[in-house]
């Protein structure tokens, strides 16, 4: 891959990760959000793949394949099964409405660039310059997590944070060592599986797909 097409590819795929995160704020249809999440996983895999092709790194190519399978298809599939059980399949009552959360997201992106200035100062590589995009994805994930009240939306917020961290890891360090990356992917997969079981049993025990209905524990 030549230098300029490599960095274009990297910019496009990293940008797609952030755009997907913002789209999840915009849409309220949970089926659509799940598809967006799948697209984000694929973009993340493309970032890893581009880096692997550029550096001829076999371990990184393997990581890219794992990311593509786990984040691009397996995890969205697990989430789709939970979405099917949510009546109406929509996020009906976000704490902040859509226009306000989009404005919030733009503030968070500025914040991400400010916070990452120390990181981007350390290296002039094309990938390092893009690191703030990953940080911004993490922050948008936070926004989703604290403003959405359906159990599925919270899982999605968590995954956005996770994908953001993974993007930062790929861009800054071309991925953590393979054994760590495999462990991280396995952990994420298991967390989603655990959350899926919990969300399902919460639905059957108390009919609560809405976290506002779960207020039993407090001081």
């Amino acid at each position: 891959m030549s230098g300029s097409s490599f960095s274009q590819m990297l910019e496009l795929a990293s940008g797609a990760v952030l755009v997907c995160a913002i789209l999840t704020l915009w849409r309220s249809d949970l089926h659509a959000i799940t598809s967006i999440l799948s697209l984000q996983g694929v973009s993340l895999g493309v970032v890893a793949g581009a880096l692997a092709a550029h550096t001829h790194d076999g371990a990184l190519a393997a990581t890219a394949a794992v990311v593509l399978v786990v984040k691009g298809s397996v995890i969205p599939m697990l989430i789709r099964q939970v979405v099917r059980r949510v009546p109406g399949g929509r996020e009906t009552s976000p704490l902040i409405n859509v226009p306000a959360s989009l404005v919030g997201a733009s503030f968070l992106i500025v914040l991400a660039y400010l916070a990452s200035s120390k990181i981007t100062a350390l290296s002039s590589a094309a990938a390092t310059r893009l690191a703030p995009i990953g940080v911004a994805t993490v922050l948008v994930g936070f926004l989703v997590l604290v403003t959405r009240r359906k159990t599925v939306s919270q899982i999605i917020g968590l995954l956005l944070i996770d994908n953001g961290v993974a993007l930062v890891a790929f861009l800054l360090t071309a991925g953590v060592p393979l054994v760590v990356e495999l462990g991280v992917s396995l952990d994420v997969l298991l967390v989603v599986a655990v959350l899926r079981v919990l969300a399902t049993s919460m639905g059957t025990v108390s009919g609560a797909f809405d976290l506002d209905k779960m207020q039993e524990l407090h001081d």
Binding site: I119, L122, V138, L145, V165, V168, D187, V194, L211, L217
Partner: protein, 491 residues
């Protein structure tokens, strides 16, 4: 070899418990495995106390005095908790809340949980340590939700979401440390590869790491692993999870899981101190430590539920430990480690006896369980002595460790911090005494059934109390070990 056996014992127990249907002897077998871990941990301490480190698996696993000490803490507390598992599971089955299959799953998950904690303290690689600590969250989720009530499901949901977010931030921090390690002195190093995340090489090269990146990384790590420790601002999962989980699980979570997450912070603190000097991490630790103490104090004052009281007390002690680590001298870290051991044992005893109280009284409201000491002398006596130990009475070891932490804080110039923490400790002291009095003393309304506590309950717990008092009076078996362990991370 020793390291492999320590990691292998709980895993083997998990496999065996997964294959065999749950019976009493399966429970005893896992107890045996955990006592093996405790015993081999002591052996590991003996081998590492003179500053040697043991490696295994091409250097991926590593045990120094600090790791060995943590293995002993994990082994001891898990032995204590697992010794009560049979009684707990039998009671749940008798009441129709559980069945053989659920019980098997419970035993398997507890052993996997213990194995993950052991891997976290024995790993040489900070990335693998992260994976192991995240895996503890996964293993404990279903343990917290074991009773499948609305409350326990809500608690496990909060637990997984908050801890996973926290641990994701810790991963971001770890990635930044790795990034800094790959760009030592501004040059891009690719040759280091997998060993760049080993904390031995990070600690050796700490002074050459980029300070700007390390500041950001340490803040994220403190926020992230701090979530798992139960420090502010992401502590809200802790009281729910600890009060809803079955008693042996609460004992394990409060006694060791919080401490294992703090161990991760100690390792990163040593690296950050090398890169940034002690001041930066110290001010962060003081902020979260005092914050946690304030929150714990305010919620302990009017607490009505004795299980939540114990949970907030865990937050208090983690706050104290954070303040001790902020001081950072050898004396301070040795006191922190002694406090981790003492708190682990005493809190396990308290949660286990609280579980027993809940079992026989059927309520966790303090005022609905009066005069426990007259009605059930053994159970009330154990709970009372442990409560007295927890709030820092001599001769128990928590007194010595709190005293030494305060001394160390004053010695490094954190006098105001020591003063504030002493005031808050006194408030908590009064609050816990008041709650303890209304639980233990008073006029019994009726004598209830005069069922005496069984020996399998009383003997391990009384032994643990005696051991804690012993370490409070006589320091010799621990002092050299604590010194060696503290020197690994102290400055």
């Amino acid at each position: 070899m020793l390291i492999y056996v320590i990691l292998g014992l709980p895993l083997a127990a998990a496999v065996a418990a997964g294959i065999l249907p749950w019976r009493r002897w399966v429970g005893w077998m896992t107890t045996l495995a955990n006592s093996g871990v405790a015993f081999l941990g002591v052996l590991l301490c003996a081998k590492t106390v003179n500053h040697r480190a043991l490696g295994a698996l091409d250097g991926s696993l590593r045990a120094d005095a600090l790791s060995a000490f943590m293995v002993v803490v994990i082994g001891t507390v898990s032995l204590l908790a697992v010794s009560q598992t049979n009684r707990f599971l039998r009671a749940e089955i008798d009441r129709g809340n559980s069945n053989i299959r659920h019980s098997s799953l419970y035993v398997v998950l507890v052993q996997i949980f213990v194995a993950c904690m052991l891997l976290a303290v024995l790993s040489a690689n900070l990335g693998v340590m992260w994976v192991a600590i995240e895996a503890t969250t996964i293993a404990t989720t279903f343990l917290v939700g074991h009773r499948r009530t609305t409350g326990s499901l809500e608690a496990s949901w909060k637990y997984v979401i908050i801890c996973s977010v926290g641990i994701a931030l810790a991963l971001l921090g770890t990635v930044l440390v790795y990034f800094a390690a790959l760009h030592i002195d501004g040059a891009h190093l690719t040759s280091q590869g997998a060993t760049a995340l080993n904390w031995t090489s990070l600690q050796a090269n700490a002074h050459r790491l980029n300070t700007g990146v390390m500041r950001l990384a340490m803040a994220l790590l403190l926020l992230g692993y701090g979530t798992k420790v139960g420090l502010v601002p992401m502590h809200s999962w802790l009281p729910d999870a600890h009060s809803e989980a079955p008693a042996p699980v609460s004992a394990l979570m409060s006694g060791v899981l919080l401490a294992v997450a703090f161990y991760a912070l100690l390792r990163f603190k040593a690296i950050a101190d090398g890169a940034l000097g002690v001041g930066y991490t110290r001010s962060l630790l003081v902020a979260v430590g005092l914050g946690s103490l304030f929150v714990a104090t305010s919620l302990l004052l009017s607490q009505k539920d004795y299980k939540r009281m114990l949970a907030y007390s865990s937050m208090e002690h983690m706050g104290l430990i954070a303040l001790g680590a902020a001081a950072g001298s050898s004396l301070a870290i040795a006191a922190v480690l002694l406090h981790i051991l003492g708190h682990g044992i005493i809190k396990a005893v308290l949660f286990l006896s609280a579980g027993e109280i809940y079992l026989v009284e059927g309520t966790s409201i303090i005022t609905e369980v009066p005069a426990l000491l007259t009605r059930r002398p053994v159970l009330g006596g154990i709970f009372g002595f442990a409560l007295v130990a927890l709030i820092g009475f001599p001769p128990f070891s928590l007194f010595i460790s709190e005293l030494n932490m305060v001394r160390a804080e004053i010695a490094v110039g954190l006098t105001w911090v020591a003063a504030v923490s002493l005031v808050l400790i006194s408030v908590i002291f009064v609050a816990m005494m008041t709650h303890g009095r209304s639980l233990l003393l008073g006029e019994p309304a009726s004598m209830g059934d005069p069922r005496s506590s069984s020996r399998t309950f009383a003997v391990p717990l009384i032994t643990a109390l005696v051991a804690s008092a012993f370490f409070g009076i006589v320091a010799w078996p621990l002092a050299p070990l604590l010194g060696a362990a503290a020197r690994v991370v102290a400055r």
